[in-house]
Amino acid sequence: MMTCKELIHDFLMEYVQGDLGAEARIEFEKHLSVCPSCVRYIDSYRRTVEMTRELGSGADAASLPPPPPEGLVRAILAVAPKPPHA
């Protein structure tokens, strides 16, 4: 029988991505059928990934961190290339 540790460390990522081979998947799901803790764990793992992905999507756009300080913008502009004849 697959242990909680094996399930979480070795098989969870592929399971969540749907990449787990048929045999391992059967073992994995057999464990889940008797281990409510791992069922809850997988749910929280999925949620962790979802919430992280949300930071990279537009969902986070409304809460962008403060804009770059004006001093930084000026420092960047100060090193911008100048026209060749200027």
């Binding site: 540790k5 791992c38 764990y41 930071l55 986070d60 961190p65 913008v73 960047i76 911008a80």
Partner: protein
């Protein structure tokens, strides 16, 4: 890099890119002003996310624009200016993360879930809050996720950001970091497990 449908459109519109690029290549100061002012808020956010604080993000953003200004002559305009700059910022951050002796965080082992000798979890996993949260709670959660990501050890944080936030493929992240794909996969999984542990006190039912 994947763009999602609800992402706010980059401020530099595609048709304008060619004209703007021509002006940039001529050294037109107004064009640089508009490029930097339009794009720096988004790029600063990317750098802030990768570097974990404003000071390092500012330094990385400055590095990135310096490289971009140097490389502008060779930029062929086949990708969007915003996409091109985004990639340069990510690279500038990676360079800094690699070179700097960064603040020592906890090791990943200290954060990862614990198991007893027979492989059972040392403590039963708690159920997480589910269902749609009100906007202020969602905002609170996003802040918590950002803070907890900042607590991850550097090597794990970087992989998590490239794969789950920047949405690079395993292959792209491996190339950007100069690591094998299997190392990236292992580290991503451990980073997610550690982040899940860090979020557990915030997300366990009854704590919101």
């Amino acid at each position: 890099m994947q763009m999602t449908a609800n992402e706010i459109p980059p401020p530099v519109a595609e048709p304008g890119d060619a004209a703007l690029l021509a002006r940039l290549k001529r050294g037109d100061a107004a064009a640089f002003e508009s490029l930097v002012r339009d794009l720096s808020p988004r790029l600063f956010a990317v750098a802030r996310r990768m570097m974990g604080n404003d000071q390092d993000a500012s330094d990385a953003l400055q590095d990135a624009f310096v490289s971009a200004f140097k490389a502008l002559g060779d930029f062929d305009g086949r990708s969007r200016l915003s996409t091109w700059l985004h990639r340069i910022v990510v690279n500038a951050c990676l360079m800094r993360l690699r070179s700097e002796k960064r603040r020592q965080r906890r090791t990943i082992e200290e954060i990862l879930p614990r198991f007893v000798a027979d492989g059972h979890a040392a403590k039963s996993a708690s159920a997480w809050e589910s269902g749609p949260a009100a906007a202020p709670v969602r905002e609170e959660l996003r802040r918590a996720v950002r803070e907890k990501i900042d607590e991850l050890p550097e090597a794990y944080r970087t992989v998590l950001i490239l794969r789950d936030i920047e949405q690079m493929t395993t292959e792209q992240a491996a190339a950007a970091l100069g690591e094998s794909e299997s190392a990236v996969k292992t580290r991503l999984h451990r980073a997610r497990l550690a982040l899940r542990e860090l979020l557990d006190p915030v997300m366990s039912r009854g704590s919101l």
